[in-house]
Amino acid sequence: MGDPSVRLGVDIGGTFTDVVLETPQGQVSTKVLTTYAAPEDAIIEGIARVCRRAGVAPGAIGQIIHGTTLATNALIERRGAKTALITTEGFRDVIEMRTESRFEQYDLNLRLPEPLLPRQSRLTLRERMNARGEVLVPLDRDEVAALAARIGRAGYGSVAVGLLHSYANPAHERMVRDVLAEALPGVMVSLSSEVSPQMREYERFNTVVANAYIKPLMKSYLGRLAGRLREEGVDCPVFLMHSGGGIISLESAAEFPVRLVESGPAGGAVFAADIAARYGLEKVLSFDMGGTTAKICLIRGGVPKTARVFEVARTYRFKKGSGMPISIPVIDMVEIGAGGGSLAHVDAMRQIRVGPESAGSEPGPACYGRGGTRPAVTDADLTLGRLDPETFAGGSIPLDAAAARRALETMLGEPLGMDAREAAFGLAEVVDETMANAARVHAVENGEDLAEYTMIAFGGAAPLHAGRLCEKLGIDRLLVPPGAGVGSAIGFLRAPFSFEANRSVYMRLSDFDPDRVKALFAELGEEARGFVRSCDADADILSEYKAYMRYTGQGWEIPVDLSAEQAGAPDAATCKARFEAEYAALFGRVVDGMDIEITVWAVNATTPPQAVARVAEEPDGTTVAPPRTRALFDPALGETVEAGIHARDTLAPGDTLDGPAAIVEDETTIIVPASRRALRQPDGCIDVKEGGA
């Protein structure tokens, strides 16, 4: 067994596999190209590199925390197993009929996304529960056996079971599993009442189908990974990061692989939450901008905001409704098709539009000089002086400033009568405004005022745009942590063991049943704590209780936290008071005289957060003079100014510099607008605040 103080974080992304090794001596990280055919190969390679650099043997690793986009990619690229759905007679097409609406109202040639399973793979059984979970039509075991024979003949490797109202009574789904297990022992089975026991059949069926679809693939990968690690002498437990921001065991992950979807971005949010805790920040907006997308997440009290449903594999310009809904506990993030590679064009109204189409790495932005002719966000950044053509990516990719200007002039400048600089300004403002609007809408939906927030920015493109974004959002303070390029993998190492169990049980406060609620919370608590116990038999476990409530007749619930005491001795008056406080905070006023109802109950079991050392924050120290300057366009001033250029690794704790400035490192550049000043904190964070020269 390894040394528990030596821990490894691994994030398999679309392009790179990031590996971070943490020892009592410090942190070592590396990036290896992702090996699609056998993703474990990149991990083994990465482990060899970091162990060599840290001078530890692979056998010394005490714990591995792993997150991956493999599950997400399998859903997007439709590379899952041959899967069947068993559902209630009369409801064969739920996953195909969706919400019966068009997500884009004005496109006559709209294509709806194909359901994950073709119609012939969706099979039905005569059975029915009602909304209270009472059996209306009993399930006939022989009919299930006959269906099992059909599934066997057709050679399905995985089966999803989604029956109507199974969240209220899972008996029929369990009977289907028992019969299948007997008849077809090699076939994997997923039940909707276990994967996502929530009301609303479209979301629940889609979630269980997605789980079943990727289960054989993920189970096989995780099995191979465990084997390879043992061969390499790494004999330690492997845990998986899940979309809700916690960690589960390899066995749980193999059973519920759909919970791994979005585990990488969840790691990023946990990374930001850890920085927030180290600085004692109550309200943080995490901003992660890479090559193709930007992600925004709200973090309060060191905890990223979570949601119960999200959409994966959007097929139409990242448009809401064009993907498939997955209802699992997930860190609530807004994802926008805006990254460094996003391409710009001029539309019919002579407006500049940016993204979601991306230049990718081939041909890349025009300035990469690989044949790209359309201007990307990176071309605008270069033309505005935010990037140095010589030192980009540590000098490994020389940038062609003339090509960037040419693309801006041809595609934007000519139709709009602008020169390259003004076109670049327009492009950058449009992309920053798009991200700012997404952040504003997200904040409003959560009843938050961003003026009270601090931004934490990471990902290759974020530090170039974060300063301007803060100006637009009225945010006073921005932190750019070190190690931002492997933020997700570092985040994995900061995540607690956690699991959320939830269930749809409908109850009005006027009809509140304390005994039932108490029993329900107890049962959910057992289930959630059981998962955490399977990771760590001895750890302390905290249980968080939540009821999702709304006025009777409304369609949107809001989550209401209850204390352990309130969950152990529930009463209607407390629930009402807690709900009204939350509702008033969100929407301004409560509605008098209305009944209130609870639709979903949840218990999140988690190990306590790791103790973090508060950063001893430096006051503004010595103002350092820039070693050199260059021309930088400042959008708030609307003009080009002379900006100081600093190398990040030459700044000492307490060093302070005035905007306009650029702080350069290998992976990225931090732009300090004219309205701000920057301070290097002892932990390496660059702290950008209001008040420039």
């Binding site: 041959k82 007679e89 009369g90 409801f91 097409d93 195909e96 009929m97 919400t99 019966e100 609406s101 068009r102 109202q105 004005y106 496109d107 006559l108 040639n109 709209l110 294509r111 709806l112 073709p118 119609r119 012939q120 029915r128 009602n130 909304a131 003949r153 057709a154 109507l164 109202h165 969240y167 059949e201 479209y202 539309d347 019919a348 109204m349 407006q351 709009l416 602008m418 003004e422 300004f425 327009g426 403002e429 449009v430 405004e433 609007n437 504003r440 809408v441 409003v444 939906e445 409908y506 006025y551 007749g553 409304q554 369609g555 949107w556 929407f587 006023r589 509605v591 209305m594 609307g638």
Partner: protein
């Protein structure tokens, strides 16, 4: 300082985002299922001339043009000089709002530093407004429910309690309706706050500059699109079921250099029952149909809508005047795009789809304890409204969409959610094989539904269905979609429209219409025919009859399904 072009662009994006926030706030706080589940709503921002500058993407086309005109009526009736901070105005006038009493429109003046700078408006479809209840059976608008003329809901912040009491006393679900009115006022308030933030940030005193920028660019872009079309005229017509008698919709389209005129002369007169359409709603859907085909990506505002002109004869069914009954104006209104496309297809071949289901397949169910025998103690009364869709018409290069609303923009409600609302049982909701009209591109499939009550209940169903006798017609040799059918499980026939009783223990069997096909079925890609057969979108009989598959081929496909082989 005059803002730069780049700053104006940023402000335009911001206004679109502001109205989207306004709409989202409405969805989150509304009580009626039609708003919160189905998205039957609209939200927008207006300048001091009452011109709509931006409209939320969330919402349904029926409100587009209707709400755009509404603010002008509010300005005239209330009197701009009497408006004050804290005011909120309201109406459900079908002719000055959005077409029936079931839509509540709320307008809020936006003041900054004591000066009026603009307006916010929003509209939502509510489940009940009293009267006979939502349905087709009224003989005049007076029977359809409570009428709220354009008036103050709040005067300088003080809600008119007399109005609230009158509303509460006249509707079946008073909490729900009053909650919805508050939600409408809240959502305008959120829009207002964000507008003021934007004006502060950019140092704007008025919206004049940004209004001119938005409207000039939108007008020019729209007119450029129209100018690129060949000038010409064409006629289109479509006959549908109606209520008392079949209805023929007629339109003549004239494409000029800088506008398109849609003239509905020759269309049938008023129906005696509540399916008549105020002109605002006709304009909304005619305009929507044209915009989809000609200028889909240009945002909705006063200038981008203006070049699409719509006229009709007074007291024809598409220009109903007070006091005609109009509660189900959507049933006819949703058919207007197919009528417009009948004409547009002549002028712009290979652009528009074949006819589809058209109107939403909605019904409202009023459940109550059984009266033919003693009812169980836990039996209750309940009103349940559902929105459902048939198939859309096949496109020139694509199949129609299965069970998907067009032209309406609303969503269906989940069966599990509906069954949690009241003692209703929906025992089937799935695609209807063979209902999509055959063609080189197949029409979208309609759907089957079966509706019953929980043990111990009986119910009335208010039917709102068309295309029972007039299924969707194909283009270029495409075959018609399947018609609507409705009956009870014991064979008792039922009507497509109107309130009808269903005794204890019976189930209503519904089959919603399919979209029509596009192009000759013989030209369909054989691989798509095999795919449809394998998935059961078409039966073996239809594969043989419509597409000429032989028995051996059919057996091969069905066998491949059994053995789990890929079908190419």
């Amino acid at each position: 300082m005059t803002p730069t072009t780049v700053q104006y662009q940023v402000m335009w994006n911001r206004l679109v985002s502001v109205v989207e926030e306004q709409a989202q706030a409405l969805v989150r706080t509304a009580f009626s299922t039609s708003v919160r589940e189905a998205g039957d709503l609209s939200a927008g921002v207006y300048d001091l001339q009452g011109r709509m500058l931006a409209q939320a993407v969330t919402g349904t086309p029926g409100h587009v043009n209707a709400m755009a005109e509404s603010v002008g009526h509010f300005m005239r009736r209330i009197g701009v000089e009497t408006m004050a901070e804290g005011d909120v105005y309201i109406t459900n006038d079908p002719w000055e709002g959005t077409g029936h009493l079931h839509d509540i429109t709320v307008v809020t003046p936006s003041f900054r530093g004591g000066a009026l700078v603009g307006f916010f408006a929003c509209t939502a479809h509510i489940v009940d407004i009293g009267g006979r209840g939502f349905g087709a059976d009224a003989n005049s608008v007076y029977e359809e429910g409570l009428y709220i003329p354009i008036m103050r809901f709040a005067d300088r912040g003080a809600v008119d309690e007399t109005l609230v009491r009158i509303i509460r006393g006249n509707v079946r679900e008073p909490d729900q309706l009053v909650g919805d009115i508050y939600a409408l006022a809240t959502c305008n308030g959120i829009g207002h706050r964000r507008l003021v933030d934007m004006m502060d940030e950019f140092g704007l005193e008025t919206l004049d500059g940004i209004a001119a920028f938005i409207l000039d660019n939108s007008r020019r872009a729209t007119v450029e699109r129209i100018a690129a079309l060949p000038n010409g005229s064409a006629d289109g017509a479509m006959t549908i079921d109606g209520y008392s008698a079949p209805v023929t919709l007629k339109v003549r389209l004239d494409i000029a250099d800088d506008h398109i005129l849609a003239d509905f002369a020759g269309t049938s007169g008023l129906d005696r029952k509540g399916i008549n359409v105020p002109l605002v709603y006709t304009k909304a859907y005619a305009c929507y149909a044209l915009k989809c085909a000609i200028a889909p990506e240009i945002p909705n505002n006063a200038a981008s809508l203006e070049p699409f002109r719509v006229v009709a004869e007074e007291n024809s069914i598409v220009h109903a005047l007070h006091p005609a009954p109009v509660a189900l104006r959507h049933v006819i209104g949703h058919m207007i795009p197919d009528t417009v496309y009948a004409a547009l297809d002549t002028l712009l071949p290979a652009t528009v789809p074949a006819e589809g289901a058209g109107s939403l397949c909605n019904f409202q169910v009023s459940l109550r304890p059984r009266t033919d025998a003693p009812a169980p103690a836990d039996a209750v009364r309940s009103e349940v409204l559902t929105f459902n869709s048939g198939g859309s018409g096949a496109r020139p290069a694509l199949d129609g969409m299965n069970a998907t609303a067009f032209p309406s923009g609303v969503m269906t409600m989940p069966v599990e959610a509906t069954e949690n609302v009241g003692p209703i049982l929906i025992t089937r909701k799935e695609l209807r094989p063979d209902s999509g009209g055959a063609g080189a591109h197949r029409g979208g499939l309609g759907q089957y539904m079966q509706v019953a009550a929980r043990e111990g209940h009986e119910f009335d169903i208010s039917a709102m269905f068309d295309r029972v006798d007039h299924p969707a017609r194909g283009r270029q040799g495409g075959r018609p979609g399947a018609p609507t059918t409705i009956a009870q499980d014991d064979g008792t026939p039922m009507r497509g429209k109107g309130r009808q009783f269903v005794p204890h223990g019976r189930t209503v069997m519904l089959a919603f219409p399919g979209g029509a096909g596009y192009g000759e079925p013989g030209a369909r890609d054989p691989a798509l025919v095999r795919r449809d057969l394998a998935g059961g979108y078409i039966t073996p009989e239809a594969a043989k009859r419509e597409y000429g598959l032989d028995d051996a081929e059919i057996a091969r496909v069905l066998d491949a399904v059994e053995t789990g082989e890929e079908i190419e």
